[in-house]
């Protein structure tokens, strides 16, 4: 365990000092600048999303819809940028580092391969969780400052985003055992995109009442549980919305019709453990 902590600390140092992470920092600054601008503009406009002349929707409801949509946008961007960071930190953790010759000097030290993998996981999770939590907090504060509203739930969505990032880190680490760094990076973003598609399918299916589409979306979410956790975060951000506000939020790109169940949360936790065990077994058997 001591060796795992040494590796984790090394990963944290790497995330701070590698030049590539300046890119993530700049993207974050750019996103926040645009987000602040968009948020201020959105609350300054009485009907920012063009929902009509106000006969159907009360002015207060506009503010609610705007708040939930902007928070959803913020949650999406937070998870996306945290995913970029998670993938950068782990895409070459095993095969990529072995091909570049970075791994061999570490593996011959008296630490288990499991400890090495655990260290990479803990280090990447530590960095990404702090990042996504901080970014989410800034998003919530910006929306509150501009619109005077808090999310319907504050802590739950933040924790859900952190959990989603943990799953993504585990997926990327597992991919790194089998794939080269480039292939793993591509695969991870394709899986991330597939997750987003399943979320969109779920929203469309719920709006249309299409059972088959719902089944497809559900199965995709089981296979990629980070998306279910993310949908749960979106749902919690505006869970107190009712009536037309609820419908309009759900029809938007950042709406989620339902929250994840406890069973799903347990599955997501088990999924992460299964990925870790498979990664460990494969890494133990791998010739370097």
């Amino acid at each position: 365990m001591r060796a795992a902590l040494i590796i984790a600390r090394h990963v944290v140092q790497e995330s701070i000092r590698r030049r590539v992470f300046v890119v993530v920092f700049l993207l974050t600054v750019l996103f926040l600048a645009l987000f602040v601008f968009a948020t201020v503009k959105a609350f300054a406009n009485p009907s920012p999303f063009g929902f009509g002349n106000g006969n159907l929707i009360e002015p207060g409801q506009f503010t609610s819809i705007t708040t939930v949509t902007l928070l959803g946008l913020g949650a999406f961007a937070s998870l996306f940028l945290a995913t970029v960071l998670a993938v950068f930190l782990t895409l070459g953790a095993v095969r990529g580092d072995a091909e570049r010759g970075l791994l061999q000097p570490l593996v011959v030290r008296p630490l288990g391969r499991g400890e090495l993998l655990l260290g990479r996981f803990v280090g990447a999770v530590a960095v990404c969780v702090v990042y996504v939590a901080a970014l989410y907090a800034v998003v919530v504060l910006v929306v509150h400052q501009a619109g005077g509203r808090w999310p319907d739930h504050i802590l739950g969505p933040g924790l859900a985003l952190c959990a989603a990032v943990c799953i993504l880190v585990a997926m990327s680490l597992l991919g790194s055992v089998f794939l080269s760094a480039t292939a793993n990076g591509i695969a991870m973003f394709m899986l991330y995109g597939a997750g987003l598609v399943s979320g969109l399918l779920a929203s469309i299916a719920a709006a249309l009442g299409a059972h088959t589409l719902q089944t497809i979306a559900h199965d995709m979410t089981i296979a990629l549980p980070f998306e279910g956790i993310y949908q749960s975060a979106l749902h919690a951000l505006g869970s107190n919305q009712t009536g037309i506000s609820r419908v309009l939020v759900n029809l938007g790109p950042f709406g989620a019709s339902q929250s994840a169940s406890i069973t799903f949360d347990l599955w997501a936790a088990a999924y992460t453990v299964i990925l870790a065990v498979v990664a460990l077994i494969a890494f133990e058997r791998r010739d370097l």
Binding site: I6, R18, L102, V107, V108, R109
Partner: protein, 286 residues
């Protein structure tokens, strides 16, 4: 062929019946090899002969298909074994954002040692990198990174060093430094398995040489045992006279005889084949 100094010596490294297959490709087959404590053994062979595979099995990076490799009696893929060895891979890198001193500090911690600045300074001085302790790896030349790799292999005071082409990226001065270092390590009682293509270097510093071909040990012994005597050559006023069957002891007699015959003698040499000759004869007779 058994490449052991003696059958009773357990050895710093004891390889027995070692085999490795990659699918249908046989990388190693029935390799027997022992490196005694404080012994410097050279491992030579053509590309693909199995040298790197053997070295990687010895440090637990590759799992053998058959046989065992033990480090001072401990199975090579155990932590006990890895506590006693230092390894320099043929192809390795350190994180570019780390300084030389930070690389060594990380390996000190992973080796279970205290992150002792004194040991780091000593190791960096040993490989001639004292001035570059705080330089980032990405700012170092390839040769400097190679030296840093050797310093890293020495972290934790290993009892066995496995060096895979340690001088491949070094200039002649760097190679001389490493040769001196190897001799110093041997004097300190550290066993070394040196995997190298540079036969002259191996011949110069190694106590024993093991030649691998096609995954098998085809020859092993002291360099002077592997090379053969090629007689005596004498440069005379009429050209070079060769005496293929003669030995060093025959030289005074031959010279006296030629002088008595009135032949002018300019130089007399005992001819001995090099390790390269012996190697080529075994590995590539054509």
């Amino acid at each position: 062929m058994d490449a052991s100094p003696s059958s009773t010596d357990p050895g710093a490294l004891a390889v027995s019946g070692l085999g490795k297959r990659y699918g249908s490709v046989v990388a190693l087959e029935g390799v027997e090899l022992t490196v005694g404590p404080g012994e410097l053994v050279g491992l030579v062979g053509a590309n693909g002969a199995g040298k790197s595979t053997l070295t990687k099995i010895a440090c637990g990076l590759v799992r053998p298909t058959s046989g065992t490799a033990r480090i001072f009696g401990a199975h090579s893929d155990t932590r006990d074994a890895r506590r006693m060895l230092g390894y320099l891979a043929e192809l390795f890198r350190f994180p570019g954002w780390c300084t030389g001193s930070e690389v060594l500090a990380l390996h000190q911690k992973l080796a279970g040692a205290r992150a002792d600045r004194g040991e780091r300074d000593e190791l960096l001085a040993l490989v001639g990198l004292s001035e570059a302790a705080d330089r980032r790896v990405e700012e170092m030349s390839k040769g400097m990174q190679q030296r840093l790799g050797i310093a890293q292999a020495l972290v934790g005071r290993p009892r066995l060093l496995l060096l895979d082409e340690p001088t491949s990226a070094l200039d002649p001065a760097g190679r001389r430094t490493i040769r001196s270092l190897l001799l110093e390590l041997r004097a300190r009682g550290i066993a070394v398995l040196l995997n190298s293509h540079l036969l002259g270097e191996v011949e110069r510093v190694c106590d024993r040489v093991v030649i691998l071909a096609g995954g098998k040990v085809v020859a092993a012994g002291r360099p002077e045992e592997l090379t053969t005597r090629g007689g005596v050559e004498i440069q005379t006023g009429n050209g070079v006279r060769r005496f293929p069957q003669a030995s060093r002891e025959d030289m005074p007699r031959i010279v006296a005889q030629l002088v008595a015959e009135g032949v002018d003698i300019y130089e007399a040499t005992v001819v001995r084949s090099t390790l390269e000759d012996a190697y080529l004869e075994l590995v590539d007779p054509a």
